[in-house]
């Protein structure tokens, strides 16, 4: 973050790096620095069965040597497409229909395949989005680095490979190079991908959501490392992200894309404090990473601000405990070699409770055991030891019949609205199913109920006959909420219920959940990795690390005064957490 806030460092070109490049040297005489990458009125269309679809229109951006430029936008905004077009990586049905791509003074819009292959790797590197799917699973990491070096005519001995990996912060690089991707954690894979992207010292690095699949603390380390490396090498970075906070923190210049168009561009801080385009204004207002801080500061100054986003004000507390989890432990048996099994403690002695009508959030990174807790509370996973009391009754002692009745009172909403709705069921059948399973009412009363539910989640009842694939992600999640509410549950367990959604949609769903809570007196158990979301929705927070509960308390106390080092690290790692905005920006 050293350089990131001050847009003035945008001109921080590494003269050494630029000078040993012939073309750049030619131009150095002309005085003003020339842009490294320039997209001029770029339009990209995709050929589909229903004719051409324009994905990007009039995209215009410049990246100066050594500069970090971020493109921010939601999914489908065309941000990745724009960046991928710059190295000729559009999918087969996509093409640049007009405009031009200028790299280092050379028009490469329609450059030959040979020329593009020359540029890739050597002059323009890429760090892709998902570390899980971007390394070929059947080749060793070292092989995948080596072939990059070799393809671009660099020395590719095992020392060179190890050096490249070590630079990207991979510990014990020499022996790690002999491992396969599946033996690496997500963070290590991303380091390997960064190593590959920067191995040939490109002058421009395209980083497509380089850390969005990683835990926040890992994300922070990786981004810090990437910052340091690109700064040392004088590499310009084109950073693509959906996270405005992250963009503002890391980039000199931010470009906001919306529905295939650049709607706003400018220095990061200026864009945050003074967004001009309505979309940017909305984005700034609902970006959780930024909003959460703002709410916090507003509270401190006694202002009642951000109430629509923060239902964390205690609502007429009834103070009875609806769920009480005590000394909950889950041990999985892992199959070892020679038929032996080893124990893996996924959840270790966890105790917390949910007060009726409030929201308790369980926060943790991947592998912390938070989802296992949710599954046990839902009665989907047998408990190894400990107890889960629901309204005073221990869940672990329930029989089949009682468990069936219990399920009526506790309903889940899962992360992936694409995966959790049956694609063969229309919306009516999806929402009606729990009613039918529990034999509630007749056909007529069920239909009335479904209409009511759709109304509650702000979907038109005309949607009943539609199928999940015709709905957007946000709409699907509304359907999932309606389904969860069909049985009038007392507790709703949200397992990463908003994590897969774009920020604006996420804010809408969080609002909806808050409204429903005050309307219906629901209690939420909110499982999430996203502290910014916790800030907006939860009354109580329990922080989990490696199966253990390391800290719990009211949301305000945990956020304002975190006791353990782990919680502090988590909070510090929220992108944009370090940004201090002038109060009027709120």
């Amino acid at each position: 973050m050293s350089h990131s806030i001050n847009p003035g460092t945008g001109a921080g070109i590494n003269p050494g790096a630029a000078a040993d490049h012939g073309r750049a040297a030619d131009r150095a005489s002309s005085g003003a620095p020339a842009p490294l990458l320039e997209l001029r009125d770029l339009a990209i269309t995709f050929a589909t069965n229903n004719g051409d679809v324009q994905a990007v229109r009039d995209a215009h951006l410049t990246v100066m040597p050594g500069e970090t430029v971020a493109i921010v936008g939601e999914s489908g905004s065309g941000k990745s497409t724009t960046a991928l077009a710059a190295i000729g990586l559009l999918p087969g049905n996509g093409r640049v229909s007009s405009g031009s791509i200028i790299f280092d003074g050379e028009d490469i819009t329609h450059a030959s395949e040979k020329r593009i292959v020359e540029l890739r790797g050597a002059s323009i590197g890429m760090v892709p989005q998902d570390p899980m799917s971007n390394l070929n699973p059947v080749w060793k990491i070292g092989f995948q680095v080596r072939e990059t070096l070799r393809a671009n005519g660099l020395p590719s001995g095992s020392q060179d490979v190890a050096k490249v990996l070590a630079e990207a912060g991979l510990p014990d690089a020499e022996s790690r190079a002999n491992q396969y991707p599946h033996e690496f954690s997500g963070g290590m894979r991303q380091r390997a991908l960064i190593a590959i992207g920067l191995s040939c010292r490109p002058r421009l690095l395209i980083a497509d959501e380089p850390t969005s699949a990683l835990d926040v603390t890992v994300q922070r380390q990786i981004l810090d490392h990437l910052d340091t490396m690109t700064e040392e090498l004088g590499t310009a970075v084109l950073l693509i992200t959906h996270d405005l906070g992250l963009a503002a923190e890391r980039a000199h210049k931010v470009i906001v894309m919306y529905q295939g168009q650049v709607v706003e561009a400018g220095p990061a801080l200026e864009l945050l404090t003074n967004p001009r385009h309505p979309y940017t204004q909305k984005l700034v207002a609902s970006a959780p990473s930024i909003a959460s801080r703002r709410i916090a500061s507003a509270k401190k100054t006694g202002e009642v601000a951000g109430d629509e986003l923060a239902p964390s004000e205690p609502r007429s507390p009834q103070h009875d405990t609806v769920i009480k989890v005590a000394e909950l432990t889950k041990v999985f048996k892992l199959r070892g070699s020679w038929g032996r099994s080893t124990d893996f403690t996924a959840v270790d002695d966890v105790s917390f409770s949910v007060t009726r009508g409030t929201t308790t959030a369980v926060v943790g990174e991947s592998g912390s055991g938070k989802s296992t807790v949710a599954r046990m509370v839902l009665g989907l996973e047998p408990v190894t030891s400990g107890s889960i009391e629901f309204d005073g009754v221990d869940l672990t002692t329930l029989g089949r019949k009682e468990l069936f009745d219990f399920r009526r009172r506790v309903q889940p909403i899962f992360q992936d609205p694409y995966g959790s709705l049956d694609p063969m069921y229309n919306i009516y059948r999806t929402i009606e199913e729990p009613l039918r399973v529990h034999s509630i009412g007749n056909g007529k009363s069920r239909e009335k109920k479904v209409r009511e539910l759709l109304d509650q989640v702000a979907l038109p009842s005309s949607m009943m006959q539609r199928f999940p694939n015709e709905l957007s992600g946000g709409q699907r999640q509304r359907v999932a909420i309606a389904r969860a509410l069909a049985l009038d549950p007392e507790v709703v367990i949200c397992d990463e219920a908003v994590s897969a959604l774009d920020v604006l949609v996420q804010a809408q769903i969080l609002n909806l959940l808050a409204d429903l809570q005050s309307e219906l007196g629901l209690s939420y158990l909110f499982i999430t990795h996203d502290l910014a979301v916790v800030r907006q929705i939860a009354d109580h927070v329990a922080v989990m690390e490696k199966g253990r509960l390391v800290e719990q308390g009211t949301t305000d106390s945990v956020f304002d005064n975190p006791q353990t080092a782990y919680t502090q690290a988590l909070l510090a790692a929220i992108p944009g957490a370090g940004l201090v905005l002038p109060p009027e920006a709120a």
């Binding site: 292959v117 890429m126 799917s133 390394l135 072939e147 020679w338």
Partner: protein, 308 residues
């Protein structure tokens, strides 16, 4: 890994016992007197029949017969068939021909199937892809004996490019035409499987990343697309090798190949119980070994598969 192989070999024991028991039982329950098949039209004297019954343990109850047979197998004595020739000798005589034919067919279907499938997959929806798909569908749809006789007639009889039948020596060049016929259907499957697999993999994220690294198109296809796409294809080829080794009764019949399939067919017609059981047992073992080979190849192709 060693432990895995040992375990796989141990698994062969129940498979072997179960399969032999089943086949033995089926042959045992065949209607008719086995000795009648040996004696033929003229018939034998009761003394000879009694002698035969004793020689082949036909006078014993089923379990004893089976256990005596197992004892024979374990001491590497497969006994003699009803004509009195040692079964082991017969298998040793005909198996090399079948093995040669099977390996040739496998190589043909693998090489052409993978190459055509690769090209079709990379040019999805273009003319090559469409025509190859239609052709492969025809090959799959038409029964193998039709294709066999057709090719024998066209290539062997009309054009005289190859011998229409195979002599006792079964040379490679003689076996080429039967091998093509034998591998034809599997070739169509390999082609389609490869094509689907290529189409799936060519859009994988790691392929895009490999392209972004600056690798040439050729290298991306060979190193990153092809190897990953071969995993399901290898599974199919392995299972197919087992099936091909089992002898192709139809193809061997058409081209008069003196192989396992033909021998087994004759043994079944003659009601030659010991011969049928021995050949089937032998084939089962070959099939199991081929499967083991595939699984090991699998681990080599996909390091994520761990054998523990």
């Amino acid at each position: 890994m060693t432990w895995y192989i040992v375990r796989r070999f141990l698994q062969l024991i129940p498979v072997f016992l179960g399969a032999t028991l089943l086949v033995y039982f089926l042959v045992f329950s065949l209607p008719g007197d086995a000795t009648a098949a040996i004696c033929g039209e003229r018939g034998c004297t009761p003394a000879v029949i009694a002698g035969l019954r004793e020689q082949y343990n036909l006078d014993q109850p089923f379990w004893i017969q089976y256990l005596l047979y197992l004892k024979g197998v374990l001491t590497f004595d497969l006994g003699t068939n009803f004509s009195g020739r040692p079964i082991a000798t017969i298998i040793a005589e005909v198996f090399p021909t079948t093995a040669k034919l099977a390996v040739m067919a496998l190589i043909l279907e693998a090489v052409f199937g993978i190459v055509f499938g690769l090209i079709a997959g990379l040019r999805k929806g273009r003319i090559f892809d469409s025509s190859v798909l239609v052709l492969s569908l025809i090959v799959i749809a038409v029964p193998i004996f039709v294709l066999g006789f057709l090719m024998q007639f066209l290539i062997g009889v009309k054009l005289e490019w190859a011998n229409p039948t195979v002599s006792g020596d079964a040379t490679i060049s003689e076996l080429l035409l039967p091998a093509v016929v034998l591998g034809l259907v599997s070739f169509a499957y390999v082609l389609r499987l490869t094509r689907t697999s290529i189409i799936e993999n060519v859009n994988a994220d790691y392929v895009r990343t490999a392209t972004a690294k600056g690798l040439s198109r050729k290298r991306v296809v060979v190193v990153h697309v092809l190897r990953n796409s071969l995993i399901p294809v290898v599974t199919f080829l392995g299972a197919d090798l087992g099936a091909l080794m089992g002898g192709a009764i139809v193809t061997e019949g058409i081209f008069n190949v003196n192989g396992v399939g033909n021998t087994l067919y004759r043994a079944v017609l003659n009601g030659d119980g010991p011969m049928v059981v021995s050949i089937v047992t032998f084939l089962i073992l070959i099939f199991c070994l081929a499967n083991l080979l595939v699984d090991l190849l699998y681990a080599w192709l996909d390091p994520r598969i761990r054998y523990a």
